[in-house]
């Protein structure tokens, strides 16, 4: 903003200059009629074209309708804005800048063309409504000054203008004062084109007298022509946002009279700063901001003795700042932000006494911020954010009496803030957020007399917030993400100018007093989430007229939400009160907040029915989350399209009763709809089928009956369909049967009463990650036809009526991404699917490092994790999040026969394996010892025989082992891990012996010994020393109650233990000695 003002400054000066010269010309004219009649007529004709419109000259500080004085029958030389030649009477000057003109100039029939003696023409700051520049301007051969800036001309610049060989200044810029956004600005800027370098070259090649050239915002879209270098008189060159391209002629910096060089915002312009400058160079302003200039700042920059303004921001510069830059410098403004500069800024920089503004932000500067700022400084703008500056907050900054803006955020400043500063009385903006500052917040930041914005967020500040001065002008306070404690100081509530308050993510506690917010009339943003605030929400919060956003989530707030008035909060758009202990009903009035966009009351104890009436039509409501409460239902007038913009509706985990149809009808915009975990009844309405934006539908854990609407298979972008734990019956819809409806990622229909076959169309669901059809009454064979699904990670078909043998995969790649397969509790027969074991690539990868772990989530909305219920480690468990490294095979409770294949050893990543309750025979394969991540192994209730392979003792992560009810024999392997399993792991195997069973192994039996490297400490228990300890109290020394007796406690000692005992005694003495010595000091 500042830069833009500085940039505009020369233009304004120029306008003033022209204005004064006209004033002089006017006063010299005599009383007789001087004006020539044809010129008089032409001017009056010109006047007819316009209306006066304040908006047309809105950028002018001083603006009025000059043409009001243009009256028929009067001397035109006496009119405002006209200058005449005192002798010939010709109009030689026309200044209509800032004259509120709004109208169109017809370029080929322009009455101004009659003013052929014009020497100066200024039409700047008007609105000519996209008129073309009249080509006849090119015939004003005496023209010296031409200014058409900011006047909404457009089209090509007429080539005739190049005939104006006497031109000294040319300004056809259309400078934007605010960001260009949309038509509005487009309409009020000049929109010129110069379609190639040659047209620019042709325009300027005659202008040998030219001193001032401003083509800002003119679409040059080409390289800078060489002929520009011939304009040796040039002193002001501004080519802001001209679409300049390619390399810039290096000698542009050597134009002998150039003082002002502005090439800002030409991102395709490539160049380097020259290695030398003329010692006599008059350059005062150089702006290369937002260009593609690169390389280092040369030492020679010091030769620019007149340089006051240097802006190299947002370019591609690198290297260090040369020490010379600060030597004998007259620099006033230095912007080097957003480049690749590094190293430590030279100390000379901080000694420039003329410096008023500096930005080094967004580089990789390091070292300390100097702490020797002088009191002579005039620095008012200091911006160093996003670097790697270290050290403490430089307290000498308070020498800078003029400082208004200070931003040191996103650095590595550490230590406490200075306890006091004197000065900084002009500071309005202070940002020291996102550093490593610690200690308490001293009082000074809160009491600076001019401070409006204070950012302390993301540090390690502790303690409580001090009381503030009520005279403070603070408008915005952010101290989020610190370790602040204690209550919110009451004095904050006296800051009458406060607009935004962010104290979220601290440890603030205590009650917010009821009338706290009543004085903060201008407050718009309140962020107090993630603290320990308690008590009720003060009603005064809801009486803030300007409030836009309120976030009190994740505190311990309690009581009911009191929101009684209807009209006051016209602005309130975002409310989050989630994760508190709020109770009672949701106030109806909350749905009268017309601007409401987002309402999150989830995870509270809210109860009752929601009464919605005609006020409840919230046009803007987009997000409604009432999940995890105790709401019982909706009472509403059945109007469709009640919340026409609703995208996200989450009512899960409440106590909603009644039929699904009693809930608000989702609108077309709905994308996420969850009413899971309630007590809803009735059938699923087909109205869910035609919601074209619906991605997520979760009706699980209710009491829904009837068939699943088959039309759900028409939903084109449905990703998640979760209907588990209802009482649905009938057949499964033919999901993915339509070519444009295959986005399904999760299909969970488990725990219903679904019948029939698995729909073969599922083979087209190529994005399917999770398929859970468990606990239904499906009758089919194993779906080998799903083997090609490229993303399928979880397949659960547990507890159905599936039958037949599993057979072999049709190709080598079958279920390659599968992490979890549970086909337990069916009627599968035949041998275990040993060929599949080899094809389950995701389970065969031995990724002990598990570095590529992630949760299985909805691909478009990563916050939503998929869940599945499994039996693992002997318990039925719901995996609320499914980790891709969690690999499970459960084939239990079927009729599988034959041996456990050795290929089981391929599934190296397995965490849980369950083959229990089948008819498996043969021995336990030693290959199971390769499954190093195995935590749960269940082979119970089969016909397995032989010994328990001692190699299994190497499975150190094994937590649950069940080998019961087989025909195993021999001794149970010993290891520290194996010794932790209870005897129930081995019951029903009469041939087994040894720990933990009570049956000892006979001497004739060969005890299988695991290799010693499996567990080095295996046999150390045999070295037993029976030292027995008892501890009693006896008097000792200076009254310490201590005693040692050897007694009957069972301890297994090694010899070392004795040595340790003595070390302990020794230690005691040395400790006593050292205390005594300390005592003497």
């Amino acid at each position: 903003m500042m830069m833009r003002f500085l940039k505009l400054f020369p233009s304004i000066m120029f306008l003033l200059l022209v204005y004064f010269s006209f004033a002089l010309a006017n006063s010299s004219s005599s009383l007789r009629q001087l004006c020539l009649s044809d010129e008089n007529r032409a001017l009056l004709q010109f006047r007819q074209l316009f209306l006066f419109d304040l908006n047309a000259s809105r950028w002018c500080y001083r603006k009025y309708a000059k043409m009001v004085s243009w009256k028929e029958g009067t001397d035109c030389c006496r009119w405002d804005g006209i200058a005449c030649d005192a002798i010939t009477g010709h109009v030689i000057g026309l200044d209509l800048s800032c004259s509120l003109l709004h109208g169109t100039i017809y370029s080929h029939n322009c009455s101004l063309c009659h003013l052929s003696h014009l020497q100066s023409l200024n039409l700047a700051f008007n609105d000519f409504n996209n008129s073309r520049i009249p080509p006849c301007f090119g015939s004003f051969t005496s023209l010296i000054h031409l200014n058409l800036s900011y006047s909404n001309f457009s089209g090509e610049i007429p080539p005739q203008l190049s005939h104006l060989s006497k031109l000294v200044s040319l300004d056809i810029s259309s400078f934007f004062l605010t960001p260009r956004c949309g038509r509005f600005f487009h309409n009020f800027s000049n929109d010129y084109n110069l379609h190639s370098a040659s047209s620019l070259e042709r325009l300027i090649h005659n202008f040998t007298q030219l001193r001032h050239l401003n083509l800002d915002e003119v679409s040059v879209n080409s390289i800078i022509p060489k002929s520009l270098m011939n304009l040796s008189a040039l002193n002001y060159l501004s080519l802001w946002d001209c679409g300049l391209q390619n390399k810039i002629p290096a000698d542009i910096f050597h134009l002998p009279n150039l003082q002002h060089l502005d090439l800002t915002f030409n991102p395709k312009l490539i160049g380097k700063l020259p290695e030398f400058f003329n010692d006599s160079s008059p350059l005062r302003l150089v702006s290369l901001a937002a260009t593609n200039f690169y390389g280092e700042i040369p030492n020679a920059i010091a030769q620019l003795k007149s340089l006051e303004y240097l802006d190299l921001g947002s370019a591609n510069f690198s290297g260090c700042i040369p020490e010379s830059l600060g030597n004998n410098s007259k620099l006033s403004v230095l912007f080097l932000d957003n480049n690749h500069f590094g190293g430590e800024p030279p100390s000379s920089l901080w000694r420039i006494e003329t410096l008023t503004g500096i930005s080094l932000s967004l580089n990789t500067f390091e070292g300390q911020i100097p702490n020797n700022f002088s009191t002579h400084g005039v620095l008012s703008y200091l911006e160093l954010f996003d670097n790697s500056f270290t050290g403490q907050f430089p307290h000498s900054i308070d020498n800078l009496a003029q400082l208004q803006y200070l931003d040191l955020s996103h650095n590595k400043l550490s230590g406490p803030l200075p306890s006091q500063v004197f000065g900084l009385s002009n500071l309005t903006h202070l940002d020291i957020g996102n550093n490593f500052l610690n200690g308490t917040i001293p009082s000074w930041p809160l009491t600076l007399p001019s401070l409006k914005e204070l950012w302390l967020d993301g540090n390690q500040l502790t303690g409580s917030i001090n009381q503030l001065h009520t005279s403070s002008k603070l408008q915005s306070i952010s101290s989020s993400n610190n370790n602040l404690r204690g209550p919110i100081p009451t004095s904050i509530f006296n800051l009458r100018d406060l607009i935004a308050l962010d104290l979220s993510s601290n440890n603030l506690s205590g009650i917010i007093k009821l009338d706290s917010f009543s004085k903060l009339r201008h407050l718009q943003y309140i962020f107090l989430s993630n603290n320990n605030l308690c008590g009720p929400i003060p009603t005064s919060i809801f009486n803030l007229r300007d409030l836009i956003e309120l976030d009190l989530s994740s505190n311990n707030l309690s009581g009911i939400i009191k929101l009684d008035s209807y009209s006051k909060h016209r602005q309130l758009r975002y409310i989050s009160l989630s994760n508190n202990n709020l109770c009672g009903p949701i106030p109806t009035s909350i749905f009268s907040l017309r601007e409401l966009v987002q309402l999150d009351l989830s995870s509270n104890n809210l109860s009752g029915t929601m009464k919605l009436d005609s006020f409840s039509k919230l046009r803007s409501l987009n997000y409604l989350n009432l999940s995890h409460n105790s709401l019982t239902g909706f009472q509403l007038i059945p109007t469709s399209n009640m919340w026409p913009s609703l995208v996200f509706l989450d009512l899960n985990s409440n106590k909603l009763q009644g039929s699904l149809g009693s809930l608000p009808i989702p609108s077309e915009t709905i994308m996420y709809y969850s009413v899971a975990n309630n007590q809803l009844t009735g059938e699923i309405s087909p109205c869910f089928c035609n919601k074209s934006n619906l991605e997520f539908l979760d009706l699980s854990n209710n009491n829904l009956k009837g068939a699943i609407p088959s039309c759900l298979s028409n939903s084109s972008i449905l990703s998640v369909l979760n209907l588990q734990h209802n009482a649905l019956d009938g057949a499964i819809p033919r999901m993915c049967s339509q070519a444009n409806g295959i986005s399904l990622e999760t299909l969970d229909l488990s725990y219903n009463q679904l019948q029939g076959q698995l729909p073969r169309s599922l083979a087209h669901c190529k994005f399917l990650q999770l398929l859970n059809l468990g606990n239904n009454m499906l009758v089919d064979t194993f779906p080998t036809w799903l083997a090609t699904l490229p993303k399928l990670q979880v397949l659960v078909l547990r507890h159905n009526r599936l039958h037949g043998s599993i057979g072999k995969p049709r190709s080598e790649v079958a279920f390659a991404k599968l992490n979890i397969i549970d086909i337990s509790d069916n009627n599968f027969t035949g041998t275990l699917p040993s060929d599949y074991f080899k094809s389950w690539h995701s389970m065969t990868a031995n990724d002990r490092n598990r570095s590529n772990w992630k949760f299985l989530t909805m691909s478009s909305r990563r916050f939503y994790s998929y869940t599945v219920t499994l039996i693992d480690k002997g318990l039925e468990m719901e995996l609320v999040k499914i980790l891709n490294t969690f690999k499970v095979v459960d084939l239990s409770n079927n009729n599988f026969q034959g041996e456990i294949p050795k290929s089981i050893g391929q599934l190296k990543a397995l965490c849980a394996l369950n083959f229990s309750n089948n008819h498996l025979t043969g021995s336990i394969p030693t290959e199971l010892a390769k499954l190093k991540n195995l935590e749960s192994l269940d082979l119970a209730r089969n016909n397995l025989s032989g010994i328990i392979p001692p190699e299994l003792a190497s499975l150190t992560f094994l937590e649950v082992l069940d080998l019961s009810h087989n025909h195993l024999e021999g001794s149970i392997p010993r290891s520290r891990q194996f010794d932790t399993f209870p005897n129930t792991s081995y019951l029903g195997n009469p041939g087994l012996c040894g720990f933990p069973l009570s049956k000892p192994c006979g001497e004739t039996e060969v005890t299988p010994q695991p290799s010693p490297k499996l567990d080095q400490t295996q046999n150390l228990e045999s070295i037993i020393y029976d030292f027995d300890w008892k501890v009693v109290s006896i008097g000792y020394g200076c009254g310490m109650a201590v005693g040692v007796i050897m007694g009957n406690y069972i301890y297994n000692w090694k010899q070392e233990a004795i040595a340790r005992f003595f070390r302990v005694r020794l230690g005691r003495h040395s400790k006593r000695l050292s205390t005594r010595r300390r005592g003497r000091k």
């Binding site: 009650i511 009581g559 598990r850 480690k873 490294t885 891990q977 310490m1040 109650a1041 090694k1054 005691r1068």
Partner: protein
């Protein structure tokens, strides 16, 4: 009604704080394990599944629960973890098996572990622990192999030596 809130809050706070941790949180065991995780360096990601947002820690790797969702086993032997053990382990009141052997654990054996009355197996062998070995509670029954290859002194002689002696 409203004015009674401040005094109630102030009065209740010390009482709430003095209650044993489990009654404050349904997932105190998960919190305890997560606090342990935050102490440990885990280069091979054996603790990756320890997600504190879950209702209980029973689905976490290397954690076993009983049917009441109480943690009864923690099997982190040979896991390449380093760091210290903390007092929070004392909150796993149903813990029966605690295997932390063959890692790079440092610091002392937290005294809070002596409150774990159900602890049957405790194995911290082959680590870099220091201080003295507790003798109270279940620690009266563990064999010395549980502690071997550390820098432990022991056993603690109550009142004689501070437990962090030798650290």
């Amino acid at each position: 009604m409203d004015s009674s809130y401040p005094s109630l809050c102030v009065l209740l706070l010390p009482i709430l704080l003095s209650l044993p941790f489990p009654s404050l949180s349904t997932n105190s065991e998960g919190n305890a394990l997560y606090a342990l995780r935050s102490r440990l360096s885990d280069p091979t990601n054996v603790l990756q599944s320890w997600d504190p947002t879950l209702v209980n820690p029973c689905t976490w790797f290397h954690v076993t629960c009983d049917s009441n969702n109480h943690v009864i086993r923690l099997d982190l032997g040979n896991s390449n973890i380093s760091g210290t053990l903390g007092p929070e382990l004392g909150q796993l009141q149903h813990l029966q098996y605690l295997r932390l052997n063959n890692n790079k654990l440092t610091g002392t054996i937290p005294r809070e572990l002596t409150a774990l009355s159900n602890l049957k197996v405790f194995d911290v062998s082959n680590n870099d622990l220091c201080g003295t070995i507790p003798v109270d509670g279940p620690f009266s029954t563990f064999p010395m192999e549980s502690y071997e290859n550390n820098r432990l002194n022991g056993p603690e002689l109550q009142g004689l030596v501070s437990y962090d002696f030798g650290c």
